[in-house]
């Protein structure tokens, strides 16, 4: 579904991604972990071209999005992203947040988009907030709306960029519950997170990044019980305590 080949990314003199190679199969759940500054957010943001790789190739669903003149807006319609800061549209109601892109971009009728939007709100437990504005919701609720907004695009891939890092501790679980529920479906998920419990529970593949490289990748069993690198062991000992 997603093929990352030899990707490098520079921000000025900073070399933040170094020769990254990664395959994400259709339906696979990939969790990317690592210390801050390791390049994991940059990597996931390259997958929908919010960041453009300096060199290398990224193929999403058969389309080389790094090619010049790649149909990137078209690809983005089926690659949804959930952000750390939610990024809901504050001037729109919750339901409008869900229907705006489906009606304007995918040209789905307003009735149909509203109907499916309400169903997704129901699924994240926020149907009664359809007419509220984002500012009236808690952080956890906003992030659940953001997930519903992503789902209403009917994506084949969902990218999560630290979806619980900006939340108060007691709100993290409600968002993780929604994500775990989502993981039971066939949708492809790439999740950058510090939530090791989530990684253990849903990941098919865990990626550990440090200093712009992928240091280690493997199944959660391998990863949490038998990591190879000292750096991985150190990270896990600090984060799992």
């Amino acid at each position: 579904m997603i093929k990352v080949q030899g990707v490098n990314k520079f921000f000025g003199p900073l070399h933040v991604l170094k020769e990254i190679n990664l395959n994400v199969d259709s339906g696979e759940k990939v969790v990317v972990i690592g210390p801050s500054g390791s390049g994991k957010s940059t990597l996931i943001r390259c997958m929908n071209l919010l960041e453009t790789p300096s060199t290398g190739q990224i193929v999403v669903d058969g389309v080389d999005i790094t090619a010049p003149k790649a149909p990137i807006t078209k690809v983005r319609e089926s690659v949804a992203m959930v952000f750390q800061q939610f990024n809901l549209y504050p001037h729109k109601t919750v339901l409008e947040n869900l229907t705006l892109a489906p009606t304007l971009i995918k040209k789905i009728s307003r009735d149909e988009a509203s109907e499916s939007g309400l169903a997704f709100l129901e699924r994240v437990g926020l149907r009664e907030k359809a007419d509220a504005y984002p500012a009236q919701l808690s952080g956890g609720q906003q992030q659940r709306v953001a997930i519903a907004r992503a789902l209403n695009m009917r994506p084949t891939v969902m990218l999560f960029d630290e979806p619980t890092s900006a939340l108060d501790p007691e709100m993290i679980q409600e968002v993780l519950d929604v994500m775990v529920d989502l993981a039971k479906e066939g949708i492809t998920m790439v999740v950058v997170t510090h939530e090791m419990g989530f990684a253990k529970q849903v990941a098919d593949q865990v990626i550990f990044m440090d200093g712009g490289t992928i240091l280690e990748k493997g199944s959660p069993e391998h990863f949490f019980t038998n990591p190879e690198h000292d750096r991985t062991k150190l990270f896990l000992s600090r984060i799992l305590r």
Binding site: Q85, N87, L100, I105, R149
Partner: protein
């Protein structure tokens, strides 16, 4: 010797009210067209200023810095006295519209740029991630949010623009200040002439300024 505000001077003014009315209407027309031009230029150059393309940014800076850092009077003189030497003769009304329009366009460009830049970057990214193009994201996501922040300073620019149309009096602009000036320079009844003229400008600007204040307060409440 009668004072500057002697009664017969006021009577003379009332008799010649049509002179002032004509100037007042010209000022309103000039302001309306000038503001339209200023908004168009301001939005265009303001958006250039938010672009990542260096050339666009440069165009924005050249326009804004050049216009903001030279006096309006000189810009008007250039249009009125300078352009004819290049074979371009503009009617004075057009000089007025161009003069205040280009001048305030530079200020409005800064208002628009600041408004767009006040919208968090994540908004544009969220829109991009859903398949919006740059313009689609601007029109549906970014500009509606920038608009709310930009309204009060935009209204202030409208007020300044109305007042600055009076500079046209220096090139026989045919607007309110010019008529007040020429009427009183023939009979020397400066007192009533300038008081009434000032009040007429006030009648245009004060409601706008009040409107701006009220919106500012409303924005404070809603944020």
């Amino acid at each position: 010797m009668p004072g500057p505000f002697a009664g017969f001077k006021w009577l003379a003014l009332v008799n010649d009210w049509s002179v002032f009315a004509e100037g007042f209407i010209q000022t309103i027309l000039l302001s309306a067209l000038g503001l339209t031009l200023a908004l168009g230029l301001g939005i265009f150059f303001g958006l250039l200023g938010t672009s990542h393309v260096k050339l666009f940014k440069l165009l924005n800076r050249v326009y804004v810095e050049f216009i903001q850092n030279t006096p309006l009077v000189i810009q008007i003189f250039f249009l009125y006295h300078g352009l004819p030497h290049l074979g371009i003769m503009l009617p004075v009304f057009v000089v007025g519209v161009l003069g205040v329009g280009v001048y305030h366009g530079a200020y409005i460009a800064e208002v628009i740029r600041a408004g767009v830049e006040s919208v968090p970057k994540g908004q544009l990214e969220a829109a991009y991630s859903q398949g919006f193009s740059y313009w689609g994201a601007m029109i549906h996501i970014v500009l509606p949010q920038a608009k709310r922040i930009s309204y009060p300073p935009l209204t202030n620019q409208a007020v300044n623009l109305i007042k600055n149309t009076s500079v046209l009096a220096m090139v026989a602009g045919g607007e309110l200040m010019y008529h007040a000036d020429s009427w009183s320079s023939t009979n020397l009844y400066y007192g009533p002439s300038y008081v009434v003229t000032g009040l007429l400008y006030l009648s245009l600007c004060f409601p706008l300024a009040t409107f701006a204040k009220r919106m500012e307060r409303k924005l404070e409440v809603s944020s």
